[in-house]
């Protein structure tokens, strides 16, 4: 791992950059289209497209004009595929950023406790039986987001005791906070009526059921906003991975940058968890896999990880929702069972090449 970590300085030609990213972009498009093809229900595209085209022309975009197949495709499956892409991409981006910020290959959006904070917020909503929407406001995502933010504030205060943000105390605080929050979630499931706690557990294990296009748009807004800023700082992340002293000697205000990026990634994690539950694994493994293949220049690593993370989660969710159709399995199980062995293989393959 150390070897790749230090290849940061390798020259990245803009031609290689463009080539790889456009390749990945095309592949992403392909994966999204292909995965929209599969689902528990059979949607004959030949029937659906005329209806969709008609709806587009006339502007009558209601459920009766596009038919049941159209509704399944456009309002159940496609939003879900897009949501999978957004969630996977966001988690991977957050993973890349945190791994660089903390210079710790184990850093992951979940290690810092923000995701469990969001999950706790959502669990409390379910315990109180408030429901998922209230007067058209998505209560569940909002409460999840509030929980994540609260966890962030706590961890920030804890770690910031000396006006600085030392990495070891940050990680330690994250791990401990995570343990506390997870315990609270477990406490809630244990006092709930068993049928209800089963529902909560099912949500916690990851569920990409998209709440609709407006919510998707909001999530996309978060993702684009955070990504744009992190991308701007990609070169600085490169420098930071060489060591904090080096970065400071080059005139980078590392403390400020760390705080800024830390808050941003926490925000994105909170937003993601509040709509999808706890889908671990993507944020940690995808950046590593991409780094093994493409090297660790963040100008390439970051966008590439976003695309690969998106594709990975879309593919995993397609398996989760079709393998035992008409029933579904939690997507978190699939990401771990498919991604884990693949990652190990990649690790072995790469070691082989290097020796």
């Amino acid at each position: 791992m150390r070897g790749q970590w230090q290849r940061t300085g390798a020259i990245l030609s803009s031609r290689r950059w463009g080539l790889i990213l456009s390749g990945l972009l095309l592949a992403s498009l392909g994966v999204v289209l292909l995965c929209s093809r599969f689902g528990a229900a059979l949607v004959p595209w030949g029937d659906v497209f005329p209806a969709l085209v008609h709806a587009l022309k006339t502007g009558e975009w209601d459920q009766s004009s596009i038919g049941t197949s159209g509704v399944i495709l456009m309002q159940v499956r496609l939003p879900r595929v897009l949501m999978g892409f957004l969630v996977g991409g966001s988690l991977a981006a957050v993973g890349v950023t945190l791994q660089a910020l903390l210079r710790n290959p184990l850093a992951d959006p979940y290690v810092l406790g923000v995701s469990s904070g969001a999950a706790l917020g959502a669990a409390v909503t379910m315990l109180l039986g408030i429901g998922t929407t209230m007067a058209l406001l998505p209560v569940l995502p909002l409460c999840g987001f509030a929980g994540g933010l609260l966890a962030l504030v706590v961890i920030y205060r804890l770690a910031q005791s000396q006006g600085r943000l030392p990495i070891h105390s940050l990680l330690l605080a994250g791990v401990i906070l995570n343990a506390i929050l997870t315990a609270l979630i477990m406490f809630i499931t244990s006092i709930m009526e068993p049928n209800r706690s089963a529902g909560l557990m099912a949500w916690l294990m990851g569920s990409l059921i998209a709440p609709g296009y407006p919510a998707l748009g909001v999530l996309a807004g978060y993702a684009v906003f955070v990504l744009a800023i992190v991308m701007q700082k990609a070169q600085m992340l490169n420098v930071l991975t060489l060591g904090e002293e080096t970065a400071r000697s080059l005139g980078i205000d590392t403390e400020r940058m760390k705080k800024q990026l830390f808050v941003l990634t926490a925000l994105l994690t909170g937003a993601v968890v509040s709509v999808s539950g706890m889908i671990g694994f993507v944020g940690m493994v995808v950046p590593h896999a991409v780094r093994l293949v493409l090297g660790s220049d963040h100008r390439l690593l970051l966008p590439a990880s976003v695309l690969v993370g998106g594709m990975f989660l879309v593919a995993a969710d397609t398996i989760a929702r079709t393998l035992f159709a008409p029933a579904e399995i939690p997507v978190g199980i699939v990401t771990a069972l498919i991604g884990g062995p693949f990652f190990l293989y990649l690790l072995l393959w790469r070691k082989d090449r290097m020796l």
């Binding site: 998922t132 929407t133 569940l140 049928n195 529902g199 099912a202 949500w203 008409p326 029933a327 579904e328």
Partner: protein, 299 residues
Amino acid sequence: MKRRQQGILTGMPFMAHVSSRSFVDDMGRKIYLAKAPTRIVSLAPSVTETLFAIGAGSQVVGVTQFCDFPPEAAQKPKVGYANPNLESLVALQPDLIITPQQFLKLDLLGKLEQLKIPVFILADRSVEDIFSHIQTLGRMLDRSTEAVALGMDLRQEIARLKARTQGQPPVRVLYVLNSQPLITVGPGSFIDQLIGLVGGVNVAAKSATPYPRLSMEVVLQEDPEVLVFPIGKAEGISESEQQAWRQWTTLTAVKQGRLRQIPADLLNRPGPRIGKGLELLADILHPSPPASPATGERP
């Protein structure tokens, strides 16, 4: 071996009487009760309701926090449901613990066996299981007369509802156990059977598990004519979650406004009140008089 020892210890000749006083639970474990237990802990609302219904309520010394029927049951000392506390269980000095299979912890079972506290495990996979549990509990508690009467009443009630709904056109139903993500009942659950008994067709019929997490795509395709939401304080689907279903306007159930509620404790509990729950379900599926308008609104 154990039976023999117990037989000797209790001074019973372990021959003729023994067989009639030993019971096999749904996990195939055999227990022997020398006499009817007088201190029973029930670890499920359905078990508590059954015990009270056969007149053994006074023998119940511990219940779960969800045992709220009959009202007297709620006054009994509480032990946990999914996570009962071992010490509080032992402190109640039960001579029998009755528990559903679903939420049973194996380590707890092992410890209770070690402490020689008889544990009887009930698995409710079918409607027939509910009847057989009533009979078994009746035999155990020397309340066979009451149990037989209760079982008869329940059978008659179900038969009556079955006859009433027979010949009516089948109605496609989705029973929403949990809304987000969607969890429903599938084959191998007693609720799925109950739906079938009163002329309903479960849209999750192709699922492989009793309580599947069902794909929304399948719901849209199978197009249920009625959505049934269990409602209640501790369990059940909230009003806002029910309303969220109205976004699926291609569903026949939404078009016709047939989103219906049933008190969760009537239908979700495999106990003596399923007759009442089933009657509500029958009314929902086949509103009487049968020739009511297409909106399906009950008069």
